[in-house]
Symmetry: C2
Subunit: 209 residues, 2 copies
DNA sequence: TAGATTGTTAATCGATTAACAATC
DNA sequence: TAGATTGTTAATCGATTAACAATC
């Protein structure tokens, strides 16, 4: 039933969700691909093609029902299921992500942080305990963990990812500046520094370098 | 001389830089596009095409000199220039980014954070002072600021971006979950939540949803 | 019914990959 | 010189855009 979904489409799904949520919050009940395209600065064609990967949720002559479409996309992404997340590496970024409210609202719950530093182990970030790395494997075995956020220093990232994979984790959101690719595992490599450098390139290009 | 550089190529430049730095650190002096492609899990063709946007830096029959190639790419990105950065919004993420060491190593210096919360204003993050938002415009006028990191709450993001743009900022690295697009300004919208959702989709797709 | 807008097929465009002459 | 590997042109592939019949 579903066609093959390209990486480009997958990346646009959360953005559709975000705009539909905003429109719903504004009280908009129906929208055409044309209007949505204007708001999102994309083409109506692209929107209809994208939705068509998952079947038609519109009505000819009417357009799309905002609330229903939003719910359908949430379901496609899998937001209805709820997820338990651990953060591996309780440094600056790890702690910041653990305290980020927006995730909670979409059904993501962070249950524990892990670190080796005795200054943070035993403490907590908000209500979330910081546990020693030695407990990581056992924790995963005894608790449901759907996703691991990886925020350890660069030199430990590959080993930590392997450990997580061996322990049965099937999704890693990696913030270390290395590319993680492992079998039987999906991984999103964020590469913050790469993003800053891409911005830097564009800044210089815009200044007629 | 330079061809039009596509978004896809721009996004790959920092990754080339990262791998070349690693190879240099390992003492590798020369490399062919074939070997580099194997290491980076891409094709030799793509590597040669990408470099060719900026002119040829290789030598037939030999390959590329790692150190020289790394320096050329650093120069293309603009890493040789050094950048002064401010962080607007001193919450979790803002403070974490202000304390992130990796930026410093590449010539990025964070000079100030800005916030409205009296609990943080007047304090500092590491050595970096947290100043009141009211001082933002004046600070930009009196100090060199090349890039602004935007980490304010969603509802204030658009207004803060406009303020920065009006004050003369030409590059924004935006972490708020809204799309910023302004005239005369380059912007990198990070969209952390979108990334987590893309990962979620893939996790479910992998589990034979 | 007539107008609007979808779902879907066809055309276009751009990016990736392959091929190969140039040359170190 | 012969082998290796680039720079660059040509072929392929996939994604985006346009077009239009179907239909609410």
């Amino acid at each position: 039933m579903e066609k093959r979904v390209s990486e480009a489409v997958i990346r646009r799904l959360p953005r559709y969700y975000r705009y539909l949520k905003m429109l719903q919050g504004m009280g908009v009940e129906r929208i055409s691909s044309k209007s949505l395209g204007e708001i999102m600065e994309t083409t109506a064609s692209q929107i209809r093609q994208d939705f068509n990967c998952f079947g038609g949720f519109g009505q000819q002559g009417y357009g799309y029902h905002v609330g229903e479409l939003k719910n359908r996309i949430a379901e496609i992404i899998g937001l209805n299921k709820g997820y338990q997340i651990i953060v591996v590496g309780a440094g600056n970024i790890g702690q910041a992500l653990a305290g980020y409210r927006a995730f909670l609202q979409e059904g993501y719950e962070i249950t524990a942080l892990f670190d080796n530093d005795p200054h943070v182990v035993g403490g907590s970030v908000g209500d979330i305990p910081v546990l020693p790395m030695d407990d990581l494997e056992r924790f995963i075995q005894r608790n449901r963990v759907d996703i691991a956020i990886l925020t350890v220093p660069e030199q430990h990232a590959k080993a930590a990812a392997q450990l997580l994979c061996d322990a049965g984790i099937r999704a890693i959101w990696n913030f270390a500046p290395v590319d993680i690719t492992l079998e039987n595992l999906v991984c999103e490599n964020v590469q913050l520094t790469d993003g800053l450098m891409a911005l830097t390139y564009k800044l210089n290009a815009a200044n007629g370098q």
